[in-house]
């Protein structure tokens, strides 16, 4: 089934590889945002099926962006998956405690990213 995914990440390379992966491997429709603030607008405007959200971003970071998404009734129910290169146990637990659907690790495999997302979102 075709899905619409919003990728919010300040790193151009990660954003483009993730978009390539989801569009090419899964055939999903991808929208991108390069900051938390832009992500909030795009999420409300495009109503994606899920959001892939980077943790470490300048300005509004991933956890803050997530909380803002939850505050807005228009985006409150959109599933959010955090994407992070922080692999330490305490970081992982802190992120999971925010209430996101899942925490995915960077680096990801472009060939299996969509499968990983399908699995955690119950889309498979």
């Amino acid at each position: 089934m075709s899905r619409r995914i919003l990728i919010i990440d300040d790193e151009d390379d990660i954003r483009q590889v993730a978009a390539l992966s989801l569009e090419t491997v899964a055939g999903w429709d991808v929208i991108v945002a390069s900051s938390g603030a832009q992500g909030l607008l795009r999420a409300a405007e495009h109503q994606p099926d899920a959001i892939l959200l980077d943790v470490m971003m300048p300005g509004m970071d991933g956890p803050t962006t997530f909380r803002e998404l939850r505050k807005n009734p228009a985006t409150a129910k959109i599933p959010v998956l955090l994407l992070t290169a922080k692999v330490q146990g305490p970081d992982q637990r802190r992120f999971a405690d925010l209430g996101v659907e899942a925490v995915l690790l960077k680096p990801f495999d472009p060939l299996t990213l969509s499968t990983q997302m399908e699995k955690v979102l119950g889309w498979d």
Partner: protein, 111 residues
């Protein structure tokens, strides 16, 4: 909504290679930041600003390199990230320099 045909491994590999070439200058720039910081650490002249910049560069590299198939690069960048996260990196400077040299070689030799 897009309904692209399923990708074959070569097509995504080709596209990834094109992205690698496009982002290589940025990735090499991050390596240069690490090289400069490790040199400064070896000379006992590492500033807080350099350390923070190196920490951010290592963090970005650790998240990116494995995505392009350089798993060893991610491992080395992660080690550097953990060291530059500390106010005073505790690793022997020569060891950090060796990790970063290997990282540079890996990046510059990827086809």
């Amino acid at each position: 909504m897009a309904s692209n045909p399923p990708a074959t491994k070569p097509s995504i590999a080709d596209a990834l290679n094109r992205l690698w070439i496009r982002f290589l200058p940025e990735i090499e720039g991050r390596i240069t930041i690490l090289e400069t910081a490790s040199q400064a650490l070896a000379n006992s002249s590492l500033t807080d600003e350099q350390r923070e910049e190196a920490h951010a560069a290592a963090h970005k590299l650790s998240g990116t390199l494995g995505t392009f198939g350089l798993d060893r690069g991610t491992e080395l960048a992660r080690r550097a990230e953990l060291e530059f996260e500390k106010q005073s990196p505790s690793v022997v400077p020569a060891e950090l320099t060796a990790w970063i040299s290997e990282l540079g070689l890996l990046v510059r030799s990827r086809q």
